[in-house]
C-alpha cells in the first residue's frame, strides 16, 4: 500500500491524529453544541477529516520543502477538509434553519480560525458572512485560502502583509 493516497498518514504519529480528533470533537462540544440544535459530530467522518488534513498537508510540505506548516496553512487545510467531508450531521428530526445549511462551514470557521495566533474576535460579522459564502460555494483550493488567512492575520494584527 505504499502508493495509497493515504500512506502519508503513516508519516504522522497516530497519537497526533487522535489528539487532533479529540481537539475537533472538543471544539464542537464547547463552541457549538449549546448553540445549534439537532446537529451532532460523526466520529468516523471527523477522523476522515483529520486523516485527509494530515495527508494533504504532508504532500504539500514534501513538494515545497516545508518543514513545519505555518498557522495559515493549518487554518486553511482544516477548513477545506471540514467543508468537503461534512463531519457535522443533521439529526433526522431537524427543523432546518439557515444555520443548518452552513453548519459545517460554521464548524470550519471555529476549528480553522483557532489556528490563527491573533485575536480573531476582532473580525467583523461582514467578513464572517463573506467567509461562510466562500466556504459554502466557492472554495477550490486550501492553498489559496491559506494565502487569504495570512492577509487576514495581517489585517488583525496591523502587520504589513
Amino acid at each position: 500500500m505504499t502508493d495509497s493516497p493515504f500512506s502519508a498518514v503513516k508519516s504522522v504519529a497516530s497519537e497526533r491524529v487522535l489528539q487532533r480528533l479529540d481537539s475537533l470533537l472538543e471544539i464542537f462540544t464547547n463552541n457549538m453544541a449549546g448553540h445549534f440544535s439537532s446537529v451532532y459530530p460523526d466520529r468516523k467522518l471527523m477522523r476522515h477529516v483529520v486523516e485527509c488534513y494530515f495527508s494533504d498537508l504532508d504532500r504539500m510540505k514534501g513538494f515545497h520543502h516545508i518543514h513545519l506548516a505555518d498557522q495559515h496553512k493549518r487554518a486553511a487545510f482544516t477548513m477545506y477538509w471540514i467543508v468537503r467531508i461534512h463531519p457535522i450531521q443533521l439529526a433526522s428530526d431537524v427543523n432546518i434553519k439557515e444555520s443548518h445549511l452552513v453548519i459545517n462551514e460554521i464548524f470550519a470557521i471555529h476549528a480553522g480560525l483557532s489556528h490563527i495566533n491573533a485575536d480573531t474576535t476582532r473580525i467583523s460579522s461582514h467578513y464572517f458572512r463573506h467567509l461562510l459564502y466562500l466556504l459554502h460555494f466557492r472554495l477550490h483550493s486550501p492553498e489559496m485560502l491559506a494565502s487569504s488567512m495570512y492577509t487576514l492575520e495581517c489585517a488583525i494584527t496591523g502587520k504589513q502583509p
Binding site: H65, D70, E98, S99, V102, I123, S125, L132
Partner: protein, 48 residues
C-alpha cells in the same frame, strides 16, 4: 534543444514557516473565542 530539466525547485523554500502546532494552545484559543465568533456568525446569517 537541450534535453535538460528546466524546473529546479530544489533551492526554493516556503518563506513563511512557523512553530509546530501546540494542541493545548489551539484548544484554548478555540474555547476563548467561541462566544464572540458564534455571536458574529449569527449576526452574519441575518444580514440582508
Amino acid at each position: 534543444m537541450d534535453d535538460k530539466a528546466v524546473t529546479n525547485i530544489s533551492n526554493w523554500r516556503e518563506p513563511n514557516s512557523d512553530d509546530p502546532c501546540d494542541e493545548e494552545a489551539y484548544r484554548a484559543r478555540a474555547f476563548a473565542n467561541a462566544e464572540v465568533i458564534n455571536a458574529k456568525i449569527l449576526e452574519a446569517l441575518t444580514f440582508d
